[in-house]
Every structure is written in C-alpha cells, then in structure tokens.
Symmetry: C2
Subunit: 310 residues, 2 copies
C-alpha cells in the first residue's frame, strides 16, 4: 500500500480531494490508486436520491446532511451535475447551497459532471463514491438530476433508493414514474407545504397498489418533507435507517456486487471508447465497408480490440 | 441482394415493418439484412425533434406529417419511448394520437423503446431510421423524449435538429437549456396561444445572443407554433427546408458519417454487453481480484474479449 492511498483510507480530506481530482479528470496513474481504494469499499450506507428537476433534491440532501451530522454520522455526497456537452462546465448553481457544510470535516461534497458520450452514471462518479466509502464515511449519498437512465442506475447501485417528488406534478412526470415506482425504496413528497400534497400522496399510494410487489418484500414508505424548513427530515432519516437494517441483511452483498459490476462496465466502455473511437480505425473501416457499420465492427473487432488488448 | 431486402429497398411497407420487428427485437439474422440496408442510406432528410416532456412534441410531429404529406413528400417517424426497465413496455399513450395516419402509405411511424442498460439512442433506433431512409422516405423524423443524453445524440445524428419548448417553462428547464442552445438548428415555441409566449421568445433570443456562435454559420430561427391547431407548421416546414438546403451542401457527408459512427458505437457496446456481461466472467474476475474492478477489467480484456473476437 502506498502512503498516499493509506492517507485516503485513514480519512485524510486533502488526500481524498486530490485523489478525487485525479480520478474525475482521469489523470494518468489514477487507476493504480483506485485499485486499492475499491478493495476497501462496502462499509458505507450508499443512498441514491433521485427525482425530476425542480423537486428540491439539493435542499433535501442539504437538510439530510444536517440530520446525519446531528446523529454523529459522517456523510459523503456525490452530486451528478448535467453539464453542457460543448462548454464542458457544470451548470447547476444550486450546488453552492451546500456550501454551509464547508467547515465541517464530517461532510464531503463533490460534484461530478455527467459524461455525455458514455451515458449514465459515470465510472468517475462510482469511483468518487468508492473513495468516500473507503475513507470511512458512514453514509454516501449519490444525488442524480433528471429522469431516465441515471435514476435506474442509481437504484441498481445504491443500498437505498429515495425518489423525490412534489405536489401537483404534471401528467408527463406521472407517466415517467411508471418505471420509477418499481425502483424506489422510499418516496419523498417534498415541498409538502404546497397545495395538493395529500392528493399526491394518495396518487402515489394508488399507483403503488397497482405496481408489482416491490422487490425484496419491502413496502416503500411515503414521507412528506419541507426540506427548506427541515421539516420531515427526521422521519426520512429513520426510514433510511430502517431500510439500511433491512438492506444490510438482505441485500448488502448483492448491492456491493452491483456497484462493482457497474464500475467495471464503465471501465470497459471507457476503454473501448478511448482505444477505439479516438482512433481513426472505425471511420476507416466504415468507409472500407461502403457505409455498413455492422461489417465495419466485425472487421475491427478482431483487428483493433485484439491488438489493444495485448 | 436477397429478395427480402430488395423489397424493403423498393419501399414495400410489409417487408419494412417485418425487418423493423426483427431489428428492434434483435432476432437472429437481422444483421445480415441491415448490412445491405445501411449501404443504401444517406438520401433522406433526417430531422431530430427534441424537448422537455410536456412540450407537445407528438402533436407537433403529427402536424408536421400532414404538412409534409400536403407537399407530396413521404415521411418516416422513429419515436423513442421511455420504457419501464422492469415491465419492458412503452409507456407513452400519446403515440396513439398519430394513428390518424395509419391509412396513409406515405407515412411510416414506429415507436422504439429506450434500452435502459446501454443508454442513449439505441442502435435499434438508428437501424429503424436507416430502414426508413433506405426504403425511400423523403424525411425521417427522430423524436426523442426528455432532456439530456438523447437530445445531444439526436443533434449529432440528425441533419436538422428542432428543439421544442413552451411558454413559461420553469427555471430548471431553462438551466438545462444551456447545452441545448448550442445544438438546436431551429427552435419551436409550441403552445403559442398561451400567455408568456413573447417573453419566452425574447428569453431564447437573449440566451442565443450569449451563446457561442452557432456551428456552421447558421442562425437558428425561433418559430411560434400551436401544433394542436396546426398553426405555424407551414413556417416550420419552410425553415426545415431552408436548413435542409443549407445542411445538404455543408454537412450532409459529415452527418451521414456521424450516423454511421453512432450506429457502429452502439453495435460495439451491444457486442461487449452480450458477450461479456451476460457471461459470468466479469463477476468471477471481480471476485478473483478482491473487489477491484480495474484489475478485473484488465484481466478479462485479454482473456475474454480476445477469445470472443475470434
């Protein structure tokens, strides 16, 4: 074990921040450290928090951090930011809201830009969650933005998946929930001081009653919160602890394996991408095959992948 | 050339529908046909239509179909449906709205479920667009749902990219637009009979003025439509024709190459997925490497990928 990795495992914030930077930017050599880091993961309670834009996820995560800290627990947060594919920067200003924790060494918050060309939860996001886990954080929260791919993936890799909604969301959002109902371990109806909160709870209950029985015999609770006033957060904390106890016995090994597989999947995609698409080989193969991508892939599968594998 | 593929190239609707089914379901042997199909693509005007849920994209596409048909042009539509990852079915009921065209042989509409595990515009969606192109449709519309990954990809593979918005969208949607401003060739403000339409147009103009000059020296027009009343659709058609003339001279080869590369990329991902992740090799490698996904990938990269490449 090199001394740098050891410092991360000992919970050294500066070392961890540096490794996260190396990892997020894929600076040459980062993977040598990550090999050791991953072997020390599996102890944190990994919590996925997801839901439509505008549901108040950042505020909820902020309030949840205070709740965990008040119980003496340490928290890591990986916030997945949608980023402009062209300008490259993260675009969500509300990240700054969490800066109230910046002097608390028990809290580690890190934003990760989504990687447009590979899709889904990036390896880099998984790596950063792994660093937080390995450095000893009690809870690691992965917060995703938007609907679709990320939500499904965060449910697969989190021990506990929280889906956040708000009163009076439109029909479109309701439609999208069809897939979400099946992946949530806990529902939060945030902004519960708004009109229509009971209706939304009732709608969720109805939809849940029509949904195939939840995986693993867990009935997802529906919790009302007003995160901006820290209301309902204590209940959310308790239900998360309930689910942690449940998940730790029934699912922990399975979820850890899912995280490892997801990371490995991403590593392979990255490797295929860097070694194949950044080369001119694929374009040339397509031209040689008179615009037939199937035959082009067939040809380079042998020529290119095998040679880069050596 | 086998006679089945020849029938598709001749525009035979039944043959095309059958090939789309084979292709969408990845039925063994579909790729033998697709190899020929792809070599006959590149003639259609490929139009991407994207925007947030609730913007009325389906109604707009419906109205656009009538407009194209009134000009004597044939149209294919590939509608990307978000699907529940567990139940497998497409969930957008509004697909049915387009059924008014079901007796018009100049219109071919096909919904494709998103594939959760691979992310983005699936190869299958690209394949179906390719079939519509190869069978001689004048315009092929790819309609995506939601924000994020799909939008970026549809802009990359379409000759012309239309981004649909509505008056009074919230701040969250505005934030997400940061990336969208740079990929749109044409903006549509739909539901223009609502309050606040001028404000939205003005906002878009302001945002565009702060955006790095549009690729390729094209200034994206902003068009007001009320698709449910077919209002403004003639203007949209004209701007699409303008952009087609522009794109055909400046971009056609580049866009066709982007489609081929995107398809090839997806084919490789599918192949990696089927040959690697459906095997037990990756899980075993991770266990053997004491939970280190990096070393596990390193090991199977040589053992597994090379052997399946033979």
């Amino acid at each position: 074990m090199d001394s740098f990795t050891q410092r991360v495992l000992d919970g050294d914030e500066l070392a961890a921040a540096r490794l996260m930077r190396l990892t997020d930017d894929r600076i040459k050599g980062y993977d040598a450290y990550m090999r050791n880091i991953w072997r020390h993961t599996g102890n944190a309670h990994v919590i996925g928090i997801t839901g439509a834009p505008g549901a108040g996820k950042s505020t909820l995560v902020d309030a949840l951090i205070y709740e965990y800290r008040s119980k003496g627990k340490t928290v890591g947060v990986v916030a997945i930011d949608p980023s402009s594919p062209f300008s490259g920067g993260a675009i969500l200003g509300d990240r700054i809201r969490m800066s109230g924790h910046s002097n608390d060494s028990g809290v580690f918050i890190r934003s990760v830009a989504t990687r447009g060309h590979l899709g889904g939860l990036s390896v880099s996001a998984m790596d950063i969650a792994a660093i937080m886990d390995a450095m000893g954080k009690d809870a690691v929260i992965i917060e995703t933005v938007g609907v679709g791919q990320d939500e499904i993936e965060v449910a697969a890799v989190a021990d506990s998946c929280v889906v956040v909604t708000v009163p009076g969301m439109g029909d479109d959002i309701q439609a999208i929930k069809a897939g979400i109902l099946e992946i949530a371990d806990i529902f939060v109806v945030n902004k519960a001081d708004r009109d229509g909160v009971e209706r939304t709870v009732k709608d969720l209950e109805t939809m849940l009653s029509f949904t195939p029985r939840h995986r693993y015999n867990w009935t997802p609770p529906i919790i009302k919160t007003t995160a901006s006033e820290k209301s309902g957060i204590d209940t959310l904390y308790e239900r998360l602890e309930d689910h942690r106890s449940f998940a730790m016995s029934a699912l922990k090994a399975e979820k850890q394996q899912a995280r490892l597989l997801h990371a490995a999947n991403g590593i392979i995609k990255e490797r295929v991408f860097t070694e194949l698409f950044h080369s001119q080989k694929l374009s040339e193969a397509i031209k040689n095959e008179r615009n037939d991508p199937y035959t082009a892939v067939e040809k380079i599968w042998e020529q290119c992948i095998i040679s880069t594998g050596n």
